[in-house]
């Protein structure tokens, strides 16, 4: 009978995605309670060494698919690897972080194995020893609660929502290689271009400072960037300023941009349209700085400041710098 959990660990260029470790931690909590096995799957080329750091999140086993065929991502190749791992492990659940790789890969494997999938899960609830998955819908205006009726189900978890466990240096998982030869790869990645400027990935950032039309023009990004640098934050933007050509779409937060859940989201000169809220309303703390006291963003704000962002931001940046240097 299908038992336990298989977690797909995403790596690019030997870098493990933080959100994958969050998924692994969540799976650990479930399996410790139910006493079921937990297996992590790592796919790529020359990645065996990464199994040590994965091991610290306490899977019982790390399955490694390591060959030149997986040096670059291909949907079909990786789907073959994940399918082989599912057949090897026979889990009840397959977990992954909800990233652009997962959006591409996980539903394909689910369809291949005729198994259901709930993506972008923001909460997991237990009922009779099984998971119910909570999936935000209608741009976060409602939450759908899903139950599975299947021996195998796929779930992808929203990054930054599930806490990653403290790594346990002493834990040693069993490491096992799994040999997979992709059967048929008709499309694959040939090149990767890093986006210019983006220093910290939005969907994984702990703190985000976002600018909207209220920042007046692209010449004012440095005012926000200084705050980002002080706080180690990522820069974000509303659609209005992306459409105006002030910044690339990569930075857009919202329904037609990225969904983010940082610890702290600072909205500067953003009115708080429903499509913007769709992308950031699950942030833990929201700060709104806006000159219009009637701006809808204040309804979602943990802390609100009515005022001119150009008067407040430099002083706030200064305050933060001072605070962080004093510790």
């Amino acid at each position: 009978m299908a038992q336990g959990i298989l977690v797909f660990i995403e790596q690019r260029n030997g870098q493990i995605r933080k959100a994958s470790l969050e998924a692994l931690s969540e799976a650990r909590r479930f399996c410790s309670k139910s006493g079921e096995p937990l297996v992590a799957l790592l796919v790529g080329e020359n990645i065996k060494d990464l199994s040590t750091s994965i091991s610290r999140y306490k899977p019982d086993k790390v399955l490694v698919v390591d060959s030149a065929a997986f040096a670059k991502y291909s949907t079909e190749g990786y789907a073959d690897a994940l399918t082989a791992a599912v057949k090897n492990v026979d889990p009840r659940y397959v977990l992954a972080a909800n990233t652009s790789m997962s959006k591409d890969l996980i539903p394909r494997v689910a369809a291949r194995l005729d198994a259901p999938c709930v993506a972008d899960v923001a909460e997991l609830r237990e009922s009779n020893g099984a998971w119910q998955a909570v999936h935000p819908m209608y741009s976060g205006k409602a939450w759908g609660i899903y139950e599975f009726n299947s021996p195998l189900a796929f779930l992808t978890l929203r990054p930054n929502v599930f806490p990653a466990a403290e790594p346990d240096e002493a834990h040693q998982a069993l490491v096992e290689e799994l040999a997979v030869t992709p059967a048929k790869v008709r499309a694959s990645v040939v090149e990767v271009h890093a986006a210019a400027g983006a220093k910290i990935e939005l969907s994984e950032a702990r703190i985000i400072v976002s600018g909207g039309r209220g920042i007046k023009g692209p010449e004012n990004w440095p005012v926000l960037q200084e705050l980002c640098d002080a706080l180690g934050a990522a820069l974000g933007a509303s659609r209005a300023v992306v459409d105006a050509g002030w910044i690339d779409h990569q930075y857009q937060v919202g329904q037609t941009g990225k969904t983010v859940s940082p610890q702290l989201y600072i909205a500067v000169g953003i009115s708080g349209a429903i499509q913007h809220l769709a992308g950031m309303s699950s942030s833990k703390v929201i700060v709104a700085i806006n000159s219009n006291p009637e701006a809808p963003i204040f309804k979602s704000a943990t802390y609100g400041i009515v005022g001119d962002c150009f008067q407040i931001l430099p002083k706030f940046t200064e305050e933060c710098r001072k605070m962080l240097s004093e510790n």
């Binding site: 009726n149 990645v189 271009h193």
Partner: protein
């Protein structure tokens, strides 16, 4: 070049969402249904390819009566023909069910390309295109922001975290559109007139050879409840001169929220 486009009819993103008395669906009264925004990029890309390479375009949509208007709008933009898949057996289809239904409708059409949006807004699943590619046994590229098609091959640029990925593959293929792929056109008056004369072919489960196979009782995942998200606690407004506001905010973030 034969091109299929999958289009979903969804509640207008501005719509206020009320939960239906059954606590599982939304109250559809007074909700305006529109083409899912990402599907507009899919439609536009199909039209541009047809204009460049010749061929024909067909739009597929699974849904109830709310789909008709969206199909008319798609035809008005210049898509050649429309298939409306409609059957009570497919009500509230989950992504896997949707993909199976669309695959059954598309598989024997001899299509070189199948376009989808990267996400049907509302459901916000991001699943159907990849599932459809698997069921049609085609390669895929999703979240595509740039596409070139020539000589039975495609080159797609897809958006990933902090980078763009270049994917090359062979046709036939499934492509899902991300914002940035193109600027969708609006239907012209002439297009709207022409669309009135185009026929929408309606297919049910029997016509697709799926009778009884994908009905709600056979589904492997079920939404048991739709709820409002937990309300955010009442926020605090910070008053005073800019200097005082800045100081207070920093202090609250450190001492109360414990973030910086």
């Amino acid at each position: 070049m034969k091109i299929a486009v999958c289009v979903k009819s969804v509640p207008d993103t501005e719509a206020k969402i009320n939960i239906a008395p059954d606590q599982v669906g939304i109250d559809r009264a007074n909700v305006r249904f529109v083409t899912s925004p990402y599907d507009e990029f899919a439609i536009e890309e199909a039209l541009r390819l047809k204009e460049k390479l010749g061929g024909e375009t067909t739009v597929f949509s699974l849904g109830g009566d709310e789909v008709t208007e969206v199909l008319r709008d798609t035809l008005a933009r210049g898509v050649d023909s429309a298939v409306h898949i409609k059957d009570a057996e497919f009500d509230d289809a989950d992504p896997l069910t949707t993909a199976k239904v669309l695959a059954a409708a598309i598989k024997d059409g001899g299509f070189d390309l199948v376009f989808c949006g990267q996400q049907g807004v509302g459901g916000d699943h991001n699943q159907v295109p990849s599932m459809l590619a698997e069921l049609l046994d085609m390669p895929q590229s999703t979240l595509v922001v740039k596409l070139e098609v020539a000589d039975g091959k495609f080159k797609a640029e897809r958006e990933i975290e902090g980078a763009h990925e270049l994917v090359e593959g062979s046709l036939p293929a499934v492509i899902s559109a991300q914002k940035g792929l193109n600027e969708p056109r609006y239907p012209s008056i002439k297009g709207v007139m022409a669309a009135r004369r185009k026929e929408i072919s309606v297919k049910d489960a029997a016509a697709l050879g799926l009778s009884g196979q994908l009905s709600p009782d056979k589904r492997k995942v079920k939404r048991i409840q739709l709820t409002m998200p937990p309300a955010r606690p009442q926020g605090k407004m910070i008053d005073g001169e800019p200097e005082v506001q800045a100081k207070t905010l920093a202090k609250l973030l450190r001492e109360e929220a414990k973030i910086i």
